[in-house]
């Protein structure tokens, strides 16, 4: 997957969690939590969707790496390079 594919994937997963999520003004280097009003339950959903779709196992200590769109891409790029 390219960096852009990963970005699309994350946004698709979030849109699936919250159909009203507004991506137009999303700053990729800022925390998703504040901008999209996500809570820890929603982050668990993102992790579980990644697991379901791409068999990715993300340990709990790595959750902070999913804070912003950019950090998600950085973290997932090596894991999804063959996807």
């Amino acid at each position: 997957m390219t960096r852009n594919d990963i970005k699309e994937l994350i946004m698709e997963i979030i849109a699936d969690i919250d159909e009203d999520a507004d991506f137009d003004s999303l700053k990729p280097d800022q925390p998703l939590r504040d901008q999209l009003d996500l809570d820890s339950m929603d982050f668990l959903d993102i992790v579980m969707e990644l697991r379901k779709r791409h068999k990715l196992q993300i340990p709990e200590e790595d959750y902070p790496q999913l804070a912003s769109l950019d950090s998600c891409v950085n973290y997932l790029e090596p894991l999804l390079k063959d996807a």
């Binding site: 009003d37 339950m41 668990l44 579980m48 969707e49």
Partner: protein, 461 residues
């Protein structure tokens, strides 16, 4: 047979837990003792009519736009859409202490607030103080028991108002006598007064079918008529459960929604020494033709009443304590128009042991049941107006009935007086959800199932 996740009990907490897990993996099996799902919230058919049990009103009402509200979190976590499940708000409800005071409340908190300040004008500042404390309190932080009664009496110097505030909160979710933990109080105050009450447009059966279809569409599996008789374990780790049929099902994780003591029993532990009081209830259902609906209050959804000097929420020393109770009009919700017949339901505190002593004599038991139903009618008619001559069908459930159909020991619908907030009872892969985990009410119990799956099972996968 072996499954990664086994859930015992298909009440609302078990169903919610099962759906939550099935969303990500279909390898989950839900076991139900009875022929029907729903647990405390179920139904039966009589004379061609569907009669609901359990559900009065659901607390925690929230508008769809209020994303952080428990109700909407529940929908989101289970991937349910509010559009698929129309919810009807209450009209208004009442806390009625006859010959003393009455307070109305609705899903608009301003009504309750204005009632309190107009009827207890000297206590306005005190009530404001309590409200500010409730709004600031974090009920989910772990801390030792704090007495709600002493918290309230610090500011509200009138036992009548304290009793009136506590009456609905205790009846709709307290497992302990006369007092409640402050955290539980804050949760219930928000759920009932600040958020409000509603019900699904359809019957409880429609709601259960809707949830079950959602679950099976994710690939989740369920088995009815499958009572668990034993939980097999070694070195504080569960390996399997044994069904009444003798079949053994292995599992990696076990989630039990049947209650703390009920679970310990399956683990083979002796629980007979436990002496904590469990609160039992008696409930009667009266069915009436809609033609007499006009003679009864149409603008009351639930009435919580108390006619004693002080409100006593405790196990009575006789079969039933009629001094207080709950009167529910399931057809008095916005947007609900009963056809043909409607129902009135009454609930009072009851003593399991008094009823148990009649069990060996069906004649006396039946007689006591009829007498209790008659006295319930006499008591609530003083508040609602007369309806006894129009009853076409009635039924009464004692704590024994509740125990039989819900498997809650002593028919204690709110379970064990101690709660296990983290769901842990000393076994590495066994977790409690539902009544004894501590989130009560329908929304609460469903969130209990969800949060236990999130915390202990999904995040450990």
């Amino acid at each position: 047979m072996s499954v990664p996740l086994l859930i015992i009990g298909s009440g609302l907490s078990g169903l919610a837990a099962a759906i939550r897990y099935a969303r990500f993996s279909p390898d989950v099996l839900l076991l139900e003792k009875h022929a029907r799902i729903g647990g405390l919230n179920s139904f039966f058919h009589r004379n061609g009519a569907l009669i609901e049990t359990g559900l009065h009103a659901i607390t925690n009402y929230a508008e769809p736009k209020d994303k952080k509200a428990p109700l909407n979190q529940l929908f989101r976590q289970l991937k349910l859409n509010r559009k698929d499940l129309p919810l009807q708000e209450q009209i208004q409800s009442e806390i009625c202490f006859p010959n003393r005071e009455s307070l109305l409340f609705s899903n608009d908190f301003n009504l309750f607030y204005s009632q309190v300040v107009s009827k207890f004008p000297r206590l306005t500042a005190a009530f404001d103080q309590v409200l500010a404390a409730i709004k600031a309190y974090d009920p989910f932080r772990a801390r030792p028991f704090i007495s709600t009664r002493s918290f309230l009496s610090d500011s509200i110097r009138d036992p009548l108002l304290i009793d009136m505030i506590l009456c609905p909160l205790m009846y709709y979710g307290s497992c302990s006598e006369n007092d409640m933990d402050l955290g539980q109080f804050v949760i219930m105050f928000r759920a009932i007064f600040l958020e409000g009450m509603f019900r699904p447009r359809g019957t409880i059966k429609d709601l259960l079918d809707f949830l079950l279809n959602h679950y099976t569409a994710f690939g989740g599996k369920i088995r009815l008529n499958s009572p668990v008789v034993k939980i097999c374990h070694k070195d504080k780790k569960v390996s399997a459960v044994e069904l009444a049929s003798g079949e053994v099902i292995e599992c990696d994780h076990l989630l039990s929604t049947i209650g703390y003591r009920e679970t310990l029993r399956l683990l083979g532990q002796d629980t007979s020494h436990e002496s904590l009081t469990r609160l039992g209830f008696i409930e009667s259902i009266f069915r009436l033709p809609v033609s007499c609906r006009q003679e009864l209050p149409l603008d009351r959804t639930i009435i919580f009443y108390n006619q004693a000097d002080r409100f006593r929420y405790e196990r009575p020393h006789r079969h039933v304590d009629f001094n207080s109770g709950v009167i529910c009009f399931p057809s008095n919700f916005h947007g609900i128009r009963p056809e043909g017949y409607f129902e009135i339901r009454s609930t009072h505190l009851a003593d399991y042991h008094s009823w148990k002593s009649l069990q060996s004599s069906p004649l006396l038991y039946g007689e006591k049941k009829r007498e209790s139903s008659r006295r319930s009618v006499e008591t609530i008619e003083k508040i609602t107006g007369n309806f006894r001559n129009n009853i076409v069908y009635e039924d009464t459930f004692t704590p024994l009935t509740v125990e039989r159909f819900t498997a809650k020991l002593e028919g204690a619908i709110y379970g064990h007086p101690r709660k296990f907030k983290d769901g842990l009872i000393g076994y590495g892969n066994l977790f409690l959800a539902g009544t004894d985990q501590g989130y009560l009410g329908i929304v609460g119990s469903m969130l209990s199932g969800i949060s236990m799956v999130n915390r202990h099972i999904l995040s450990a996968l």
